[in-house]
């Protein structure tokens, strides 16, 4: 038996189908950043709400057989879901393998019963967990002989909470503030019992026609402390009225206490939820550029990246600066950009095309570069360097490119001294000041110019200044203004041109379909 189970455990561990299936279930049931989970959750929410709708409709109407079948289908799906959650809650075969290998290592007899005990314990702990109980209570009343438990069907509403991470986070407030809320509850019970006792002593003897038992006194006290006061039981004696004064003040105080606890906790959670939301938004992007820090240089960079339809995510620690970026509608994560866990969560492995690090502290920049490199050795990292002495260190850490803030500025400023007009042109091209810019245009695979000489392209027609061409097979070698008749255009070549935004746009479209411009 023991041998059989161990062999089975190893077979499961070695099964690719098992791992694939498990990964699929984990993805749709537990991965909050997965698109599949979002679709699955939306489907389950629809099932829950529609079955509750059926319950409400059933109160006064006879429901057709099709709807009953629909409900059975829904419950069947709930059962499958519960089983899937149960299955992924704990990997039994791994426990067997772990215990078996440990016993082999220590050279002792392996007892399968020990592993089974642990497995049963873990599985039972899942079954009796609140979320599993909600699931079971939402399923069981659907079994006709148990229809008496129909009220538990409403527990399906709680199932909805399972599918909303944000609501779940809010509900966690009650777990995290357990101590404060327990103190409040004890205080509340003490007030209720104390006032119930006092009122019962004064009015329970028959002077108050509505207060017959101690339970009536407790009920009255509870309703009064909650500041509801239905008015079905009212105090008649002066002592009873004094108790009411005390109760109302105590009630207001405890309500305020409760509100304060929940509000402060909600505030904390809100930031957490916002951060998670930004992370899941970032993950949902196809590819994006990660920018660490949101200083003045970064603002220019991000504005231009957004203008050119690049997706950008910013990580910034300073809350005030975060607000500035958020006001502009950017994705901002308020956190430390050198946090490796965060970088992993936002998809540094496969979602990020380039990282730009722009802190004004080189030690911080170095730490961020190393954090990124520890996860992804290939991603492009452009880092700001604040002191030329740190340049080499940033390179060693793994920066692909180094930007020194005053480097280009000083070259332009010096250029103004020597060739003011020429450098005005460069400054214009760097800053797009007069709308003219130097740009590169890719030759896409369906361009009719592929295989033809450069001389076929009518640059002058669009007032485009041709500067050079970079061939796909030799990106590092720019062919500056080559002889146009001898240069054959190939797919994925880049033309380096100077032009104005509008003319470049027309020229781009001309490169794809020149026939459209033939008559113009």
């Amino acid at each position: 038996m023991s041998d059989f189970l161990v062999r089975l455990a190893y077979r499961i561990e070695g099964s690719r189908t098992h791992h694939k299936f498990r990964a699929f279930l984990t993805d749709i049931l537990e991965n909050h950043n997965s698109k599949n989970k979002k679709i699955f959750d939306a489907f389950m929410i629809f099932l829950v709400i529609s079955t509750i709708g059926i319950l409400i409709y059933e109160v006064k109407h006879h429901i057709p057989i099709e709807i009953i079948y629909y409900e059975y289908c829904a419950v069947f799906i709930f059962i499958l879901e519960w089983l899937a959650r149960y299955a992924i809650s704990f990997e039994s075969h791994k426990q067997i393998i772990r215990d078996f290998e440990e016993s082999q290592y220590l050279n002792i007899d392996y007892k399968i019963s020990e592993s089974i005990k642990i497995i049963i314990k873990r599985k039972v702990s899942y079954i009796i967990s609140p979320s599993s109980i909600i699931d079971l209570l939402a399923i069981l009343p659907s079994y006709r002989p148990l229809r008496i438990l129909r009220v538990f069907l409403l527990l399906r509403l709680f199932k909805v909470l399972q599918y909303s991470n944000s609501i779940n986070q809010f509900l966690r407030i009650f777990v995290e503030k357990k101590l404060e809320l327990t103190i409040l509850l004890v205080l509340y019970i003490a007030i209720v019992m104390f006032s119930a006792t006092v009122i019962y002593v004064y009015e329970g003897g028959g002077s108050n026609g509505h207060m017959h038992t101690y339970w009536d006194a407790v009920y009255w006290s509870f309703v009064t402390v909650a500041t509801i006061g239905y008015g079905d039981i009212v105090p008649h004696s002066d002592a009873g009225r004094i108790v009411v004064f005390i109760l109302i003040i105590a009630g207001l105080a405890s309500a305020a206490f409760f509100t304060a606890i929940v509000t402060s906790a909600m505030g904390e959670k809100l930031n957490y939820i916002k951060k998670n939301k930004t992370i899941s938004n970032a993950i949902s992007l196809q590819k994006y550029i990660l920018v660490c820090g949101y200083g003045r240089t970064c603002r220019v960079l991000v504005d231009n990246l957004k203008k050119n339809n690049h997706d950008v995510v910013i990580i910034e620690q300073n809350p005030e600066i975060c607000t500035v970026a958020e006001d502009k509608g950017y994705h901002v994560i308020k956190d430390d950009p050198s946090n490796i866990d965060l970088l992993q969560n936002i998809g540094i492995m496969n979602k990020i095309s380039s990282v730009v690090i722009l802190s004004n502290d080189d030690t911080v920049n170095l730490s961020i570069i190393l954090s990124i490199r520890s996860i992804n050795p290939n991603v492009e990292i452009i880092s700001r360097c604040n002191s030329s002495k740190s340049k080499n260190k940033l390179k060693i850490a793994g920066a692909t490119d180094i930007i020194q803030l005053n480097d280009s500025a000083s070259l332009v400023a010096m250029g103004y001294l020597k060739s003011p007009i020429a450098y005005e042109a460069i400054d214009d091209m760097l800053t797009d000041f007069r709308g003219a810019s130097i740009t590169e245009l890719e030759i896409f695979k369906n361009s009719p110019f592929i295989g033809k000489p450069l001389s076929e392209i009518m640059f002058n027609k669009f007032n485009i200044t041709f500067v050079g061409i970079s061939h796909n097979d030799d990106r590092n070698n720019l062919k500056f203004n080559p002889a146009r008749a001898d240069t054959i255009i190939e797919e994925k070549d880049f033309l380096i041109v100077i032009g104005y935004e509008k003319t470049i746009k027309s020229f781009k479209s001309y490169l794809q379909s020149p026939t459209k411009f033939e008559d113009k």
Partner: protein
């Protein structure tokens, strides 16, 4: 480092910000006679650390006479850099300098559009915003890496490509020609980036505007090309000029 005579000063650098330290180094390397004015003693010490002990002044220069004594009206002066970290000081000095010397190119440090507007009003010829330049440079590196590489090469003087401005005189080869018909540029494989046409304005006009300018005496053309070709082109222009002068 020698103390420059006021009459020989070619460049004044006002303020010793990080950008100023970079520019001072470039001026020093290219043998310009320059003076640094840094009134703030806390920053002044950085200039001393960088070994600018002789050509540095701690005077405030808010007073015109003081400024004149530092050479602002010097006929040899080629430029004033207002690069103090304090924007208001830059603004004040820019206005004072423009008032004292109408022709001097003033290049001032700015960190946003509002500052740029004020500096221009005060008389700055150019403003430099390092944050903007660095931000756009990173953007281009990500979005247009090939064109950024070319621009970088042009910016660094000692590289394969260079950009040159050529003043057109009466006996220049292309005086009287139209900008679209300058055949000599083809010979040296140069690209005409644009022109400053004195008849239109002092602004630089890109060739991409599509205007076919008539090039006259006093205009300036800007060409882009491989450094070696530009040198040859300039040599031909000089020879041609000398030849024409001899003929006269």
């Amino acid at each position: 480092m020698h103390t420059p005579q006021i009459e020989t000063i070619e460049v004044i650098v006002y303020g010793y910000s990080k950008l100023a330290s970079e520019i001072s180094l470039a001026l020093h390397n290219e043998f310009y006679n320059f003076i640094i004015i840094e009134p703030d003693p806390r920053i002044h010490k950085f200039a001393i650390r960088d070994k600018y002990t002789e050509n540095i002044s701690t005077k405030e220069c808010y007073d015109d006479d003081e400024f004149i004594s530092h050479g602002i009206c010097n006929p040899n002066l080629k430029a004033l850099y207002c690069l103090h970290n304090d924007f208001n000081r830059n603004l004040f000095i820019t206005l004072s300098a423009r008032n004292l010397n109408q022709d001097i190119p003033i290049i001032a440090l700015s960190s946003n559009d509002n500052e740029t507007k004020k500096l221009k009003l005060a008389g700055a010829s150019r403003t430099i915003n390092p944050y903007e330049i660095a931000g756009l440079k990173i953007f281009r590196q990500i979005d247009k890496p090939l064109s950024m590489k070319l621009l970088e090469e042009i910016l660094h003087n000692n590289s394969r490509f260079t950009i040159k401005e050529i003043s057109v005189s009466n006996n220049c080869l292309f005086n009287g020609l139209y900008s679209k018909n300058i055949e000599i540029l083809e010979k040296y494989n140069l690209v005409l980036l644009g022109i400053q046409d004195k008849e239109i304005s002092r602004e630089f006009i890109f060739s991409s505007r599509g205007i076919n300018h008539k090039i006259d005496d006093g205009d300036t053309i800007v060409v882009l090309g491989e450094s070696a070709n530009i040198d040859k082109f300039q040599e031909e222009l000089i020879h041609n000029k000398q030849g024409m002068n001899n003929e006269k």
